[in-house]
Every structure is written in structure tokens, then in C-alpha cells.
Symmetry: C2
Subunit: 415 residues, 2 copies
């Protein structure tokens, strides 16, 4: 079963917002065996939307539309859908009750623009929106299903999870897709490809292997298409096992989860804790850990030590060390990680100090110079990296390498 | 001048990665007066790519293609472009030198798959890739320009900034677009719309106003289209001034920058510093600050205090306070912020403690309960929020509200 996603709104087309909705929807749809054929972002322009709807209907059986349902004048999705289906907009009682309920809850007067949100094309079935005033809409039209939802991510997500996905599963008979992702860190795409070329060549035509590289990590994704989900799963598992055996220590986990989540899972199973001492990563590593539910089981916290003062106060780095060797030095990162282990009483710690840029570099310590330490259970790794001159990348690469070094220490503990 | 963006690769369509490239490209293109008409994400499938290219060429004069240029078998962009243009793939000397140089730099053997990366369609002009092995490609074909670039964000970005944008500017005569964005925080889209309805109604047809809501913030974006950039700018500035006067204190800054950047700019101008004490936000606020160049001028650092121990050790929160009132309480957040101001010696501080969820809630403190404090220069704001049950949203909303409270204190300082 093929689907398409159409996002409506100039926000994406002028780059004001990144389209995170579509990736999330695609992932959820894959889980139930629906493949997304195309994602199209189009402008708040009636004719453009009409054309995109017609093109998508020529390729797919389900079309998901997000955005353009707000109360303001630039939101034209409903009017355009009514024209596309050749119907009128009518007031919907259920949608009006929802709008009224939300405004009553927040003790706010119901404005005329909000009342307009209860109007929907006459041929739609309203999809309730518990988190906002714009109703979702489900249309069956000439053998194609159209689902229109708000662009606000949490409204759309709740609607998909609670209403739309269950309705799709109940309505359609779907084929199966099985994915399996192997997370690797520390080896490039080409080298991995060369090492497993013969395994890749032996894949049957209904199993695909994709390489998904991202800052020091490569995800290997096996996808199998067919009808018998158990046999697909067995075949994919067997190929995955061959690849894991071949690639050895660069393999982290056979799940499609982020590196820091894989590490926390491993540490949680072993009853271990971690803390951080972050300078140039500035809270990014902490954020990576704490975005995941249950982080508090493993992650105790740490110090974000941008200034000399905080390096001394929070971690006990010696003032003389900072004066003599500088904040970006082997000596400082060593005292940072020792301070973290001592003061935060975690089993493991990681410490990072560097020059994220774009300013602050010198001849002997250019922008992108980063010292990283990982330690715990009597072991200590310290390494100097020289990344590039892009701040965000230096922060992300530093985090990935710090996590990779922690993962190396943990592999030794587990073995 | 209209452009389209086509991203190639199953990664986006199965939701493995979020398409951040297109938003970035759209933003850069807007700056030089190029409007993106449509963004399409299509699969690693020859016929689908051919169809998408033909459709885009029917709507736009420049087509940007990213992805599918890696060394592995699922990367079919080059072969498909060669077929689309009806030409052969030929080895390009410049591209081969680049691949060879990169492999020599890292002391790695040049594999046959990498050598293949130097093959390009015969009708292209190679766009150098200083950060990777896949060359960019520029095609002029039947009055439409096609630019194919790698999907790896930093390779694409560098190529756009250093090569493609300068070449476009040098080649084409472009009309003007003027954008102005007003950042507001703390008032909903509908209420803002109602308050400025008459100003919106008085806009000429070549100036559009868009509302871009995001977690407690609304951006108001004025966009003017035409030829005389100075007169467009004057008109947009005049409308912006009317809106700013009307909306009053919910206005933060008349630039399209993030809330935390606006706050840091304001604090930098006033010579003020800030530190943080983060529990449930877990480093996210620190990361927001430190992702921006020059953050160290204003942001000193802080404590990520997930555990009781770290709240006590780093911030000096009293053990009895935690035992008696719990970590998520007015008393604890007050001691956290007092500890931050005292220990980190910043002019201002923000402190956040709450239950991000999805677990950890109780009857009287459900998931989404968050205490936030902002303080400095003798003033202290403490507020309890009750958000929802989605972890990531609770983290983001807490951060926005903490920044909003800090902004309120700063507005008083500045006046």
C-alpha cells in the first residue's frame, strides 16, 4: 500500500521550520506496512495545492495532508479541499463543541475566527483533535483516502496515534514490511560496504540494504517486502547476524535507536551510572541523554562549565592548570573527568573541552580542536580530535566521539 | 524566480532522517530572491526520480537535487540524471583528483567504489566538494538549471555557500523578496490576529503576513515581493512598526532569531551574564544558549542536576528541603536558583525542576508539573506550570517559559 504526504504552508518552503512531521508520519506508517512514495511540501496557494492533490492521487491510495488549518487568513487548506471535492463547507457540531470546550477550559472568549474552525467540507468525517481547535478530516473519494491534519506537531501526532492509525488498520488489508537497523560507529560507509559486499550481493531481490551515514556513525538498514511477516523477519535476522559477525567491534546495537540510548540501555542493564563535564558541547550531551524517558536511572547529571570559574567551582579543576595549559588541553580534560567522577560519584563519566568556533581559535589550537575523556571502573581514555570550523558540527561530532569512547569502555566491562 | 528542491533517498521516506537540508536551502535561496515552489522527497527509484524531475522542470527554472550520490549500490542519482539528459557517464579528472586527495589525506586506500564517484554525466559542470568524495553537478538543459549535491548536510551546505550560490547570483538576474519577522512570546495566534486584524487588512496585495506558532511563541512574518528592494523594505518596516506598537510587551525582537539568541544579544549589550540550574530540562536550555557563536560572552554554564545528590552538591540545595517538599517544589526551585546565583556568580539565573514524563507522576504532582524560577538584580520570579504528558514537549515548553520569564526580568532592567 502506497501513501503520500503533502505539507501545506510557506513556513517550510521559506525554511522557517524544518518538516519533522513527515519523518515521524513516515516512520509510523512503515510500522503498519504502508510505504510513503513521495513527500511534497507546497505553498499556501490554491492552484498549487489542487495540482499536488491530483498528482498524489495518481500515485498513491492514501494521502496525508498537514498544515494550513489555523484560524488565520493564510490557512486555506479547508477551502481548497472543498473545491477539490466539489462540496460546500458546513458547520460541524462535534468540531464546534471541541473548540468551545477548549476556549472554556482556558477561560478565553470564543472569537469568530475560532468559530470558523468548526466549518469543514461537507463530505468529510471529522477526526477529533483533543489538543487543539482545528479538527482533522477523513475523506473517501474515488478509491483514495485523504486525511487532513493540523501542522502543529503534537496535535498531528496525537491524532495519528489515537485516531487515524487505528482507523487505517481497521479499514485496510496491508502487506508487510520488515526493517532491521544495525547501528555502527567509527568506520566509514565505503569501508563497511567493501567488508560486507558479498553478503549484500547474496540478498534476494525483496530484501534491500541501505547505508545511512551520520557524523561518525553508519546505520545499516535491511528492509524486506512481502506477505509472510514471520519468514521475512527470519530472513532479515539471519542476514543481520551475518553482518554483525563480519563487522565486529564497530557494531553497537541491532535496533534503530540513537547511540546515547543504546549506551543508556547497556548501562541500565549493568546497573551503571554516568555523569558529564561539558565545556564546548555546552549541555548537548546531557540533552541527548535526558531526552529519553527513564534517563534518570543511568544519568545523574553534571556540570556545564563554560567559564574558568565554573570549571574550578563545579569540577575542582586547578586554577594553575587552566592558566598554564589552557582550558583546551589534555591536563584540563583530565582534571575535568577526575572531578566529575569524584564529585558526582558516578560509575563512568565523560568530559569534553574544545573550541567549537567559529571564533576563539589560535595557531596551535585552531577552531575544531577538542579534547575528550571517558573514564570509569579504573579505566581512562583521553583523545584529541581536530574537527572542522562549523560550530554545530563540532558540538555534534564531539558528542558522538565522547559517546563512542564511553561505548568502548563499556564493551570492555561487558565482556 | 522559482526553484524546486528534490531530495532523493529512502531515508527520508521511511522517516529515518528528518530533511533539514531543504529548510536550510530554502532559507539561503530566499535571501537571494529565489522562491521555492515545491519540495519533493522521492525514493531511490529510477522512474520515480525521472518523473519528479520532469514535473519540477514544468514548474521551476532551477532544480536542486540532494542525495543518492554515495558510493553504495542504493545511490542511483548519477545514473538517473545521465538517462534523463540522454548522456553517458564519463570520468572527471577534477573529481578524481579530489577523491584521491581525500583518501591520501586520511591515509586510506582508494577503493574501486570510491573511484566510481569520479564518474559524472557527460553534460555536467562539476561543482567541487571540498568536504567529501561525491562531486556536485551543475546542468543547463532546455532553459532549466539543475544542481545535484550530496545529501550529507555539511557537504551540501559548504557547496551551496562557496560554489552554487555565488554561481547563481553571477548567472541570473533576480527579483527581490523582503522578509521581516517579529518574534512574540506568551500570546496565542488567534489573539494576536484579532488585535492586528485592521493592520493586516490594510496590507497591499504584494505584502503577505504569516503567523508561525511554535510552543508558546508566535512569529509574525511579513513578506514583500517586487523589484525595488528599498521601497519594499521601507513599506515592510512601516507595517512592522505599527504591529510592534500594537502588540506591546509580548514582542521580543524584530529579527528572525531564536528566543534564546534574542535574550543573549540583549544581555550582551547590557554586559550581563546568566547561568542555569537544570533538572527536568536536562541540559536543553544550556544547549540552546551554547549552540550560538559567542555564547561564552553571556552564558557561564551551570549544573545539570538530575539526582538529589547533584542538586545538593552542585547547587547547595538542602537535603531536608528535598526530603520534605520533594525535588519538584517551590522550595526546591528557590534553593536551586539561589544556589546558581551564589555559586556561579552570574547576574541572572534560571532554574527548572519538574516531571518531564512519561513516568514519575503522582496524584498531586502529575507528569508535566514544572516549577520554573528566574532571578537576578534583586528580582525573583517563580511560577508553576502544568504541561501535558509528552516528554519532549515538556522539556521544550519548560525551556521556552524559563526564557520568557528571564526576558520579562530583562525588560524591566532595560527600561
Amino acid at each position: 500500500m502506497l501513501a503520500e504526504i503533502i505539507t501545506i504552508g510557506d513556513e517550510i518552503l521559506i525554511g522557517q521550520i524544518v518538516d519533522t512531521n513527515s519523518a515521524w508520519m513516515a516512520r509510523e506508517l512503515n510500522k503498519i506496512g504502508i510505504r510513503v512514495k513521495q513527500i511534497s511540501s507546497v505553498s499556501d496557494d490554491k492552484n498549487h495545492i489542487l495540482k499536488a492533490l491530483a498528482e498524489a492521487a495518481g500515485r498513491a491510495k492514501i494521502i496525508f495532508i498537514t498544515g494550513g488549518l489555523g484560524p488565520t487568513k493564510d490557512d486555506i487548506t479547508k477551502k481548497t479541499l472543498a473545491e477539490y471535492f466539489g462540496v460546500e463547507l458546513v458547520e460541524n457540531e462535534e468540531a464546534l463543541e471541541n473548540v468551545t470546550r477548549i476556549f472554556a477550559k482556558y477561560n478565553r472568549p470564543l472569537l469568530e475566527v475560532n468559530r470558523q474552525q468548526a466549518f469543514v467540507p461537507a463530505n468529510c468525517v471529522v477526526v477529533p483533535n483533543k489538543n487543539g481547535t482545528a479538527p482533522g478530516m477523513w475523506f473517501d473519494h474515488e478509491d483514495v483516502i485523504y486525511v487532513s491534519m493540523p501542522g502543529v506537531p503534537f496535535e498531528m501526532m496525537y491524532m495519528m496515534e489515537e485516531e487515524v492509525i487505528p482507523k487505517i488498520v481497521a479499514t485496510l488489508k496491508l502487506p508487510s514490511i520488515v526493517h532491521k537497523t544495525l547501528l555502527t560507529v567509527g568506520e566509514g560507509e565505503s569501508f563497511l560496504a567493501e567488508r560486507i559486499a558479498d553478503i549484500e550481493d547474496s540478498l534476494p531481490p525483496y530484501i534491500k540494504l541501505a547505508y545511512l551515514p551520520k557524523l561518525g556513525q553508519v546505520r545499516l538498514r535491511l528492509s524486506a517486502f512481502g506477505n509472510d511477516v514471520n519468514s521475512l523477519q527470519n530472513e532479515v535476522d539471519a542476514f543481520a547476524a551475518r553482518i554483525i559477525e563480519r563487522i565486529g567491534r564497530v557494531f553497537v546495537v541491532d535496533q534503530d535507536i540513537p547511540l546515547e540510548k543504546a549506551i543508556m540501555d547497556k548501562m541500565g542493564d549493568l546497573g551503571l551510572t554516568v555523569s558529564v563535564a561539558e565545556s564546548c558541547t555546552g549541555g548537548y550531551i546531557s540533552h541527548l541523554f535526558t531526552q529519553h524517558a527513564g534517563a534518570s536511572k543511568v544519568f545523574l547529571g553534571g556540570g556545564i562549565v563554560y567559564s574558568y570559574d565554573l570549571k574550578e567551582h563545579i569540577l575542582g579543576v586547578k586554577h594553575e592548570t587552566l592558566e598554564q595549559f589552557g582550558a583546551v588541553s589534555e591536563q584540563t580534560v583530565k582534571e575535568m573527568i577526575e572531578g566529575a567522577l569524584l564529585n558526582f560519584k558516578s560509575d563512568f563519566a565523560i568530559a569534553v573541552t574544545g573550541i567549537a568556533g567559529p571564533d576563539g581559535g589560535t595557531a596551535d589550537k585552531p577552531v575544531g580542536t577538542v579534547w575528550i575523556a571517558a573514564a570509569g571502573k579504573g579505566k581512562l581514555l583521553i583523545k584529541k580530535y581536530t574537527f572542522g570550523n562549523k560550530r554545530q558540527q563540532n558540538i555534534e561530532r564531539s558528542a558522538v566521539m565522547a559517546l563512542s569512547m564511553l561505548n568502548t569502555l563499556l564493551t570492555d566491562v561487558a565482556e
